[in-house]
């Protein structure tokens, strides 16, 4: 017999309580996994896509909560091009539109000569005619989920968009969006002459130092714009930060509930086992060993629930991102940093919940404990 056998025996001795506790912790950690996973997935998808398409810095209007509502005059492009150290400039108008089918899709407008078109590898059909008003190319992922091919028609709020081609892009965001000539999208959205963001490539932009220098120079010259690095674009987004704050708060409430459940279970276990703890004391178990036993029992509950929660959380995430409203915006992939966060949470619940019960066990008077019926 080992210490773990004692712990397992204790846990299976009260199966209902153990199960309920484990389920509660699983729910708390599962919620945490889903909420933080969504945020992380969004970061991965967004930042990763920006980096992949070659953006070093992205500029958008300052002081808007939602990046998509910020409008910039498209003529800024020529000015930015002239700034020292700027290699190339690509303007983009972005919005999310709802199709008649109910799916929300990201639609992106690029000028006909934009380098952004370079990432579009057609797998069927052709690129939209640069002067057309209603031709789009659909990312492969989106085409699959909308079940549409070249030659098909999409209907956003009464209008009509013709699918000129289907293309494969090597970034999630692109692969799950509609791309069309800028002027066409400006007409569609009634935002003539306006763009949402500017993508810049700068000298030395592949290194942090070069990027920072360019960013500082641009920020000084154009204080009305926010220049964000592609790698951290999501984290610097106000709306995203707000959402992440909310999701942390919600997770935290769940985690605290989980901790309290384990705490309660362990406290009851110690009170119930008063006599047994007295016996352990009488046969020479040290205080340290008794504390270890209780802390490990608490950790076992938290780990069992936590691991189940992580597994369910990932499954939930995988299903969640299949939802048409989320598809393409979120990339779910297990990561070390997520695992480290989750392990820390499990450890914190287990240790935090076991502390006071273990202390109670240590402080038991052995003679009173042995007298307990």
């Amino acid at each position: 017999m080992r210490l773990v056998h004692i712990i397992i025996r204790h846990l299976v001795q009260r199966p209902v309580r153990t199960a309920v506790t484990v389920i509660c912790v699983a729910a708390a950690v599962g919620g945490f996994t889903v909420l933080t996973g969504l945020g992380r997935g969004l970061e991965t998808a967004w930042n990763g896509s920006l980096v992949k398409q070659g953006t070093h810095l992205m500029a958008h209007r300052k002081g808007v909560m939602n990046l998509l509502t910020g409008a910039i005059d498209e003529r800024i492009a020529d000015e930015l091009k002239a700034v020292e150290g700027v290699e190339s400039v690509s303007t983009e108008l972005i919005d999310v539109i709802t199709l008649e089918s109910g799916a929300s899709v990201l639609v992106r407008g690029w000028p006909g000569d934009s380098v952004l078109w370079g990432q579009v590898a057609l797998i069927s059909g052709r690129l939209p005619d640069p002067h057309s008003r209603d031709q789009v190319v659909v990312g492969e992922g989106l085409a699959q989920s909308l079940d549409i091919q070249a030659g098909g028609v999409l209907s956003p709020f009464g209008g009509e968009l013709r699918v000129a081609g289907v293309a494969r892009l090597d970034n999630v965001l692109g692969n799950n969006s509609l791309m069309m000539p800028l002027s066409g999208l400006q007409d569609l959205l009634d935002r003539q002459g306006k763009i949402t963001v500017v993508h810049l490539r700068v000298e030395g932009g592949d290194h942090e130092k070069g990027l920072e220098t360019a960013r500082a120079r641009l920020s000084e010259k154009y204080p009305q714009f926010l220049f964000v690095a592609a790698q951290t674009a999501a984290q610097e987004n106000e709306l995203y930060r707000f959402w992440r704050g909310m999701s942390w708060a919600a997770s935290l409430v769940g985690l605290i509930m989980g901790l309290l459940i384990v705490f309660n279970t362990m406290l009851v276990a110690v009170l119930e086992k008063t006599r047994e703890i007295g016996v352990l004391n009488a046969v020479g178990w040290s205080g340290r060993r008794i504390i270890t036993l209780i802390m490990l029992e608490s950790l076992a509950l938290s780990a069992a629930g936590g691991l189940a929660g992580i597994a369910c959380g990932y499954l939930g995430l995988k299903l969640l991102v299949l939802h048409p409203k989320l598809q393409g915006f979120i990339l779910v992939a297990p990561s070390w940093s997520a695992l480290a966060e989750q392990s820390a949470v499990i450890l914190a619940i287990g240790l935090g919940a076991g502390l006071i019960p273990a202390w109670r066990a240590l402080k038991l008077n052995p003679i009173d404990a042995l007298r307990e019926r």
């Binding site: 017999m1 080992r2 210490l3 056998h5 004692i6 025996r9 204790h10 001795q13 006599r275 047994e276 007295g278 016996v279 352990l280 004391n281 009488a282 046969v283 020479g284 178990w285 040290s286 205080g287 060993r289 052995p366 003679i367 042995l370």
Partner: protein, 244 residues
């Protein structure tokens, strides 16, 4: 009982000059709640390897005496020496209970969720390092108390006499030099009483243990080397076997 001067036991690491396994000097135990004096000014030496019986009416302080011997309780005055040294901390007492002092209770105090074999292994945690050795030792002990066949039974599935035999096996788990028993036959019928007492005596004689047994049973007291009688927390008499 004969005592050989060269005998070795687990207590040999202590000051071996003392011929007493346990020594009480002017020990009192007061309970502030209700200001009860459970023991008053007890001076008593328990010789190595002897069988000492403790008798006395209910409430005379027998259990208190035993609890002070095992460090489960602390005196309010005086000092308790084990093998010639005073354990100065709770940690030291726990260390002694794990290695040098075995305890048998009237109410067995077996852990209900564990089999006989597992119960016997409980004290070995932290003392016997390897799991296989713990298991071997437990098998051996249960064999010695005649419970081989019932080693996988839970306490609920054992008779009172059998439970007490498991408890005796457990008390010997780490080969202590001192065995304390508080009315070990108090919950047993006369047949198993006798069997349990014989077992206790045989085992302690074989290992030359110091055996202290609290009892109401005169037959048990008759077998002891010495009998100490308590009354109202004081020693009323101390009788050598020859003197009976």
């Amino acid at each position: 009982m004969q005592q050989s001067a060269t005998r070795k036991d687990s207590s040999s690491c202590f000051s071996s000059l003392s011929r007493h396994a346990i020594e009480f000097s002017s020990v009192s135990r007061l309970y502030p709640a209700g200001s009860v004096t459970a023991l008053e000014d007890i001076t008593l030496g328990v010789r190595r390897g002897e069988f000492l019986a403790v008798v006395g009416p209910s409430g005379s302080g027998k259990t208190t005496l035993l609890n002070l011997m095992s460090g489960l309780d602390q005196p309010t005055q005086g000092s308790v020496l084990i093998n010639g040294a005073e354990p100065e901390s709770a940690v030291k007492w726990a260390w002694l209970r794990a290695r040098a002092i075995g305890f048998v209770f009237q109410s067995f105090q077996l852990l209900p969720a564990f089999t006989a074999l597992e119960n016997v292994q409980i004290p070995m945690f932290g003392v016997v390092k390897s799991r296989a050795q713990r298991l071997d030792a437990a098998h051996d002990l249960l064999h010695r108390v005649g419970l081989d066949a019932k080693r996988h039974r839970y306490p609920d599935e054992l008779s009172s006499g059998e439970k007490q035999r498991v408890a005796i096996a457990r008390s010997l788990a780490n080969s202590p030099s001192i065995l304390l028993a508080d009315e070990p036959t108090g919950n047993l019928d006369s047949r198993s009483s006798e069997a349990v007492m014989h077992l206790l005596q045989d085992l302690s004689r074989a290992k030359r243990l110091t055996l202290v047994v609290v009892t109401h049973n005169h037959a048990i007291a008759r077998d002891a080397d010495r009998v100490v009688e308590l009354f109202d927390g004081r020693i009323a008499s101390l009788t050598e076997k020859g003197g009976l």
